[in-house]
C-alpha cells in the first residue's frame, strides 16, 4: 500500500484517499458558448497518459481536501503532490 503525501497532513496510507481523475481540467468559463462537441470533450474525454500524469486526489478519510499529484502511470510512483492553486511542478 502506497504512502501518499497530502499537502496538508503529510504522508498517509493510500486507503485514506480517493482518486479524482485528470487534474487541470477546468470547468468551462461559459458552457453555453460551447458546441455540443466541445462540451462532450469536457464531459467525457480525458488523457490516457503512459508515464507522468497530473491527477486529482482527495484526502477523504483525513482532512477532506482536494489536491493534485504527478504520478507515473507505469510505476504508480508519486513524483509530487501539490495544492490545487499551485502550478504543476517540474518533475523528472
Amino acid at each position: 500500500m502506497q504512502m501518499i503525501k497530502c499537502p496538508w497532513c503529510g504522508p498517509r496510507e493510500e486507503v485514506e484517499y480517493h482518486y479524482g481523475g485528470q487534474a487541470h481540467v477546468a470547468y468551462p468559463a461559459e458552457p453555453a458558448a460551447l458546441s455540443d462537441e466541445e462540451w462532450a470533450h469536457y464531459l467525457f474525454f480525458r488523457d490516457n497518459t503512459r508515464g507522468l500524469f497530473a491527477e486529482r486526489w482527495v484526502h477523504t478519510a483525513g482532512c477532506r481536501r482536494w489536491f493534485n499529484a504527478v504520478r507515473d502511470t507505469v510505476t504508480y510512483r508519486f513524483h509530487a503532490t501539490y495544492r490545487p492553486d499551485e502550478p504543476r511542478p517540474v518533475t523528472a
Binding site: 500500500m1 479524482g20 453555453a32 455540443d36 482536494w66 504508480y76
Partner: protein
C-alpha cells in the same frame, strides 16, 4: 505402475525406533500424544507432525489429488509439496502441511487426498491485527538475518525481526555448525537474548512475512496459539496480521532445495537431502534406515555423511557428475559409503514407500534429444527406504520479486537470483545466492549497515563470528544442472514436476506441443505451481524443463510472477476482528431501542438500521404495510427519518454555491422557507434530491437522501475546493446531530398542536394553515429543548417534520407517540414511506433512477431553472441526446387485472394482441421499452401499482403495454406517476 514390490524397511523396524537416542531441539521431557489417521502417536514438544510421524516410521501422509498415488513427507518446512493434512481437532483446519504443523496433546489430523474440507462449524477463535513502524524489517532469523538484526539493534534503530519457524536459527537449526568454536545455536541463543533486551526491537517467531508491497509496507501473519492446541490461553488471538511499515527491509529468507525429476519420484520416502539433515539435527529423527542419496551438487554429501554418522545405512551416493568433490569422496570412503559418479536415479520401486532406487549411467544428451538413459541397459535396483534428492538450491527470491525486483538466471547455481538492488529492499544470505556460513553472516551485517547509513543513522558494526573452514574450492566440483532424468523407456507420464498437482513432464510437453511458451501459460495449462506451495520446488524446475525442451536459455524463459502470499493465509486471519457485527459499522438512530421494543422488522440502508415495518401479532409485511399506509392517509403516522443526510452550509456565499449545484434557484429562498431541489452531475443526470431550509441569510440546511449523505457532501466540497475556492462558504455534516421525525396524515396537526401548540409548549406554535404554511419552518422549544418544525411532505398528506437534537430525540418521539394516542398514531417504516411517496409519484433517486435519468425524464422540468445562466448539468440538457423524444420517462403503471404485483426490475414491452410472449427463436428478441422501478400494493387505490421508466412514456399515458411476469404477459395501463391526489388538496389537511 509396473512395480509390485511391497516390502518396505519400516515393517522391519518397530514403531518409534527412528528417534535418535539424544540430540535435536525437541524437548524429550515433554512428550505429547496426538492422533494421525486414526492411530495414536507420541512425539515431543518441538516436533512437527512430520518429524513425529517419521520418528514412528510413518512416511505416507495422504494420496494425490488426481491419481490417488501415495504421498509422503517431501521436505522439512513450507517448501514441502506433498505432506498435506487436515487438522480435525481442536478445530477443523484444511490444507496444512505435516512439515509445518507443530504437535501438541490432543491434536487430531488426517492426510488429505489433495484437498481438505472446510469446517462446518463457526470458528470460535479470535484473530486480530497490529501496526508496526520500523527503520529496518529483517525477514528471517537465520545467520544472515540475526547478524542484520544485531547490527541494527546495536545501532539503535527500530527493528522488526520476523521469522516463520518456531525458533530462531534458520539453517543452523538443521546443522551441526560451529561458530567461534561453539555450537552455532549457542551464538543464536546469545543473539536472541540480546535482541530481547534491546528496547527498539520487535522479534517474533512463528511469523511469516507473506507479502511486501509499496513504500516498505509488509504483511506478516503470526501464529500465536496454533502450537498450543487446547492449552491456548483464552482471550489471546489465534493468529495476528502484522502490518509493518519499514523504511528499509533486509530479506534473509534463505533458500529452498530443488528436486530432480525422475520417474516415480513421488513415492513416500523420497525427500530433499537437506531436509533429512534437518530432521536429524533439529528433531533427532532418522528419516529412514537405508538411504540412497541422489545429487547433482556438493551439498547433499553433507546429508549423506551426517546420516551415516547417525547410523543410517547409506547404500549409495549417486552423483550425475563425472568427478565427485575430492573432499567429500574421502569422507564417504572413510564411512564405507559407495559413491557412483556419472550415474542417475532413473526410477523407484515401492508402493506405499520407496523400496529401491533404480540407478543407471547418466545420459547427458538430455530431454530434448529424446535421450533414453541407459537405453537397453537394465537399471540397477538399490534397495532403500529413503531416497534423498538434491538438484541444487533456489534462493527464496519471492519477496524481492513481489517488490518487482528483477531476477536473472545464474548458470553456476542453476537458479534465479535477485538481479538488482531495490531502493528500500535488500537481500542477504542464501536468499541472495550466498551459501557459505561466513559469507551469509557478513552479508547480513553489511546489508543492515548499508540500509541504516542510507537512512542517515550511525552504524555500530557487529563482529562476525568465525565459522568452520570450508573445504577448499579445489576439492569441490561445480554443480550439474539437471532438471529431469529422462525415463529409460521414454515415458514421462510418471515424472512428477508438481507432486501436489500430479503434473508431470508429459504435461509440460503437452503444453509446449499446444504452442505455449511462457511459463505463465504453461503454469495455467498444467496447473504446475498453483497448489498450496505455489511452486516452491516446482517453479524453477518447470522453467528449466521448458528451456531444455525449447533449446532456450532459462534466463530467456524466466519464471512465473511471484505474488503474495508467500505461504497460505486463512481468510479468517485476514478478516481479523472485522467479522460478524464488526464486519461493517452499524449505525442506529437515537430512537433505535424504541423501535426494538415496538417489534420493528429491520431494513439495512447502507450502514443504517431502519425499521421497515412494525408488524402487529399475526401480520405479515403486506398486511402491516397496508395498515400503516391507511393510518397515514386517514389518521396519523410517524416515521423515524433521522437517517436523512443533513449538511449545514454556512457563509456569505452559501446561496451562490447552492445556486451553482442545484438545478433551481436557492439564493432567492426566504429565511423561514423550505424548497425542494435536485442536483445533477455535469452530464445532466440526477444524482440526489431533497429539501433545503434557509436558516439565516448566510446559512442553509441541505437535506439529502439517506444513501446520498456522504456522497453529496463530498460532491459539494469537490466543486467548492477545486472550481470555486473563492466562495466564502463552509460545509459540515450534521446528519448525526439532528433527529428528524415526519408526523404524517390528516390528524398530524392535532398531534403537533398538542405537543408544540399553545397548550403543549411554553412558546406555543400556531399550527394553523395560515400561521404555518406548507414549505415553511419554525423554531420552538419543548421543556427548554430547541425543536425545529418544518412543513414538508413526502407523502402528499398534511405533515410536519420534527427536527431535534439527537440527545433529546427519544423523549420528543415519546411525547409525540403519547400525544398521538387519541388518534391512534401509527409508527411506520421505510416500506410504507416508499408506498406513500410512490403513490404521489415522488421518485427515489437510485431506485427510480440509475444515473441515466434527467430531471426532465422524471417529469420535473419545473425544478430546472430557466433564469440561472449556469449550474452544474445545465449545458448537458441541451445536448442532442437529451432532447430525444424517445427518452425513458417516469410513468405510473396500473396492472389491468388489479391483482398482479409487478416484480421490480420487470421489463416492459409493447402490448400484444394475442397476449402471448413470442418465442425469441421465431421473431428474434422482443424490443424492450423500459423497466419497472418501484412496485407496491396501495391501500388507498385498493390495487397494486408501479412506477416505471418507459421510452417516450409521457406520450403513452392511457396506452396498454405488457409486462412479462414468469412467462405470462400482464397488461398494464400507462398513467401519470401521480396516482393519489394529483391536485395536491391533501397537503394542507
Amino acid at each position: 505402475m509396473s512395480e509390485t514390490t511391497s516390502t518396505t524397511a519400516t515393517t522391519a523396524q518397530a514403531r518409534g525406533s527412528f528417534r535418535t537416542p539424544t540430540g535435536g531441539r525437541v524437548d524429550r521431557t515433554s512428550p505429547v500424544t496426538f492422533t494421525f489417521a486414526g492411530v495414536e502417536h507420541t512425539g515431543y514438544r518441538g516436533d512437527t507432525l512430520a518429524s513425529a510421524l517419521l520418528a514412528d516410521g510413518v512416511h505416507q501422509i495422504g494420496t494425490s489429488i488426481k491419481l490417488g498415488r501415495p504421498r509422503g513427507v517431501g521436505a522439512a518446512w513450507a517448501e514441502d509439496p506433498s505432506s498435506l493434512v487436515q487438522v480435525e481437532e481442536p478445530f477443523p483446519d484444511p490444507m496444512l502441511l505435516a512439515s509445518t504443523v507443530e504437535v501438541f496433546d490432543g491434536l487430531v489430523a488426517d492426510g488429505v487426498p489433495g484437498q481438505g474440507r472446510l469446517a462446518d462449524i463457526a470458528d470460535s477463535a479470535r484473530y486480530d491485527s497490529r501496526h508496526l513502524h520500523v527503520d529496518l524489517l529483517v525477514v528471517g532469523a537465520g545467520p544472515a538475518g540475526l547478524q542484520a538484526a544485531l547490527t541494527a539493534a546495536r545501532s539503535g534503530a527500530r527493528v522488526a525481526l520476523l521469522d516463520e519457524q518456531s525458533e530462531a536459527g534458520g539453517s543452523l537449526l538443521g546443522s551441526d555448525e560451529l561458530l567461534d568454536g561453539r555450537p552455532a545455536l549457542e551464538w543464536v541463543a546469545d543473539a536472541v537474548a540480546e535482541l530481547a533486551a534491546a528496547p527498539e526491537v520487535v522479534h517474533l517467531q512463528r511469523t511469516t512475512v507473506f507479502g511486501v508491497y509499496d513504500d516498505g509496507f509488509a504483511l506478516a501473519v503470526e501464529r500465536r496459539t496454533d502450537h498450543l492446541g487446547g492449552a491456548a490461553p483464552e482471550g489471546t488471538s489465534r493468529q495476528r496480521v502484522w502490518r509493518v511499515r519499514a523504511r528499509r527491509t533486509v530479506v534473509a529468507a534463505g533458500a529452498h532445495e530443488r528436486p530432480v525429476v525422475f520417474t516415480d519420484n513421488d513415492r513416500p520416502g523420497t525427500m530433499l537431502a537437506g531436509s533429512a539433515r534437518t530432521y536429524l539435527h533439529r528433531y533427532g529423527v532418522l528419516a529412514g534406515s537405508r538411504a540412497v542419496v541422489f545429487t547433482t551438487n556438493d551439498s547433499a554429501y553433507r546429508a549423506a555423511v551426517d546420516l551415516a554418522d547417525a547410523g543410517v545405512h547409506v547404500a549409495a551416493v549417486v552423483d550425475t557428475r563425472d568427478v565427485a568433490p575430492a573432499h567429500w569422496a574421502v569422507e564417504l570412503e572413510r564411512r564405507g559409503v559407495p559413491l557412483r559418479t556419472a550415474q542417475a536415479v532413473v526410477g523407484t520401486r515401492g508402493v506405499e514407500r520407496v523400496s529401491a532406487a533404480l540407478v543407471a549411467p547418466y545420459d547427458r544428451a538430455g530431454l530434448a534429444a529424446g535421450a533414453r538413459s541407459s537405453a537397453g541397459v537394465e537399471p540397477e535396483a538399490i534397495e532403500c527406504d529413503l531416497l534423498l534428492v538434491s538438484g541444487g538450491w533456489n534462493p527464496a527470491v519471492h519477496l524481492h520479486s513481489q517488490a518487482r525486483g528483477k531476477l536473472a538466471f545464474d548458470a553456476g547455481l542453476g537458479a534465479f537470483l535477485p538481479a538488482e538492488r531495490l531502493e528500500d529492499l535488500l537481500v542477504a544470505g542464501s536468499a541472495a545466492g550466498t551459501f557459505d556460513l561466513s559469507s551469509c553472516l557478513r552479508q547480513g551485517g553489511a546489508s543492515a549497515a548499508t540500509a541504516l547509513s542510507e537512512l542517515g543513522l550511525d552504524v555500530t558494526a557487529v563482529p562476525v563470528p568465525s565459522a568452520a573452514e570450508q573445504p577448499p574450492s579445489s576439492s569441490s566440483s561445480a554443480p550439474d544442472l539437471v532438471w529431469v532424468v529422462p525415463d529409460p523407456s521414454g515415458d514421462s507420464s510418471r515424472q512428477f514436476v508438481d507432486v501436489q498437482r500430479d503434473a508431470t513432464v508429459a504435461d509440460v510437453q503437452r503444453a509446449l506441443g499446444a504452442g505455449l511458451r511462457s511459463p505463465e501459460h504453461v503454469k495455467r495449462y498444467t496447473t504446475i505451481g498453483t497448489a498450496h506451495d505455489q511452486g516452491k520446488t516446482s517453479g524453477v524446475v518447470t522453467s528449466g524443463i521448458i528451456a531444455e525442451l525449447l533449446g532456450a536459455a532459462p534466463d530467456a524463459v524466466g519464471t512465473t510472477t511471484f505474488r503474495p502470499p508467500y505461504t497460505p493465509v486463512a481468510f479468517a486471519t485476514l478478516a481479523g476482528r472485522d467479522r460478524g457485527q464488526l464486519f461493517d459499522p452499524v449505525r442506529t438512530t437515537s430512537v433505535h431501542d424504541w423501535h426494538v421494543q415496538a417489534g420493528a422488522v429491520w431494513e439495512d440502508v447502507g450502514q443504517w438500521k431502519r425499521p421497515r415495518y412494525y408488524p402487529l401479532a399475526g401480520e405479515d409485511m403486506e398486511t402491516a404495510v397496508l395498515r400503516e399506509c391507511a393510518a397515514a392517509r386517514t389518521g396519523v403516522g410517524i416515521l423515524d427519518g433521522s437517517t436523512l443526510g443533513k449538511i449545514d452550509v454556512q457563509g456569505p456565499d452559501a446561496g451562490v454555491l447552492l445556486d451553482r449545484l442545484y438545478t433551481n434557484l436557492m439564493s432567492s429562498l426566504a429565511v423561514g422557507k423550505v424548497r425542494y431541489g435536485v442536483m445533477c452531475g455535469a452530464d445532466g443526470m440526477v444524482i440526489d434530491d431533497g429539501t433545503v431550509l434557509r436558516v439565516a441569510e448566510d446559512r442553509f440546511l441541505v437535506m439529502t437522501t439517506t444513501g446520498g449523505a456522504a456522497k453529496i457532501l463530498e460532491w459539494m466540497e469537490e466543486w467548492h475546493q477545486t472550481e470555486w475556492p473563492e466562495l466564502r462558504v463552509h460545509l459540515a455534516s450534521v446528519t448525526e446531530q439532528w433527529a428528524a421525525f415526519p408526523v404524517v396524515g390528516p390528524r398530524s396537526r392535532d398531534v403537533i398542536g398538542a405537543v408544540f401548540g399553545a397548550g403543549g409548549s411554553e412558546d406555543g406554535v400556531d399550527v394553523s394553515n395560515e400561521a404555518f404554511g406548507f414549505m415553511t419552518w419554525q423554531d420552538t422549544t419543548l421543556d427548554g429543548v430547541p425543536v425545529r418544525l418544518a412543513r414538508i411532505s413526502f407523502s402528499g398528506e398534511l405533515a410536519w417534520e420534527v427536527h431535534v437534537d439527537s440527545r433529546y430525540a427519544l423523549a420528543v418521539w415519546e411525547r409525540l407517540i403519547a400525544a398521538g394516542a387519541p388518534y391512534a398514531i401509527t409508527p411506520y417504516g421505510t416500506e410504507t414511506m416508499h408506498v406513500l411517496r410512490a403513490e404521489k409519484g415522488y421518485p427515489i433517486i437510485g431506485q427510480d433512477t440509475d444515473g441515466t435519468v434527467t430531471p426532465q425524464d422524471l417529469g420535473m422540468a419545473w425544478v430546472v431553472s430557466k433564469k440561472k445562466p449556469d449550474f452544474v448539468g445545465k449545458r448537458s440538457f441541451a445536448r442532442a441526446e437529451n432532447q430525444r423524444e424517445d427518452r425513458k420517462h417516469l410513468v405510473g403503471l396500473l396492472p389491468v387485472d388489479r391483482e398482479t404485483l409487478l416484480p421490480e426490475g420487470s421489463q416492459i414491452i409493447e402490448h400484444r394482441e394475442d397476449g402471448v410472449l413470442p418465442s425469441v427463436s421465431e421473431t428474434g428478441p422482443v424490443p424492450m421499452l423500459g423497466h419497472v422501478t418501484s412496485s407496491y400494493r396501495s391501500a388507498y387505490l385498493e390495487r397494486p401499482f408501479a412506477l416505471a421508466l418507459v421510452k417516450g412514456g409521457r406520450a403513452r399515458v392511457g396506452e396498454l403495454l405488457h409486462v412479462p411476469v414468469k412467462g405470462r404477459l400482464v397488461a398494464v395501463e400507462v398513467t401519470s406517476p401521480v396516482l393519489v391526489d394529483p391536485e395536491g388538496a391533501r397537503r394542507d389537511g
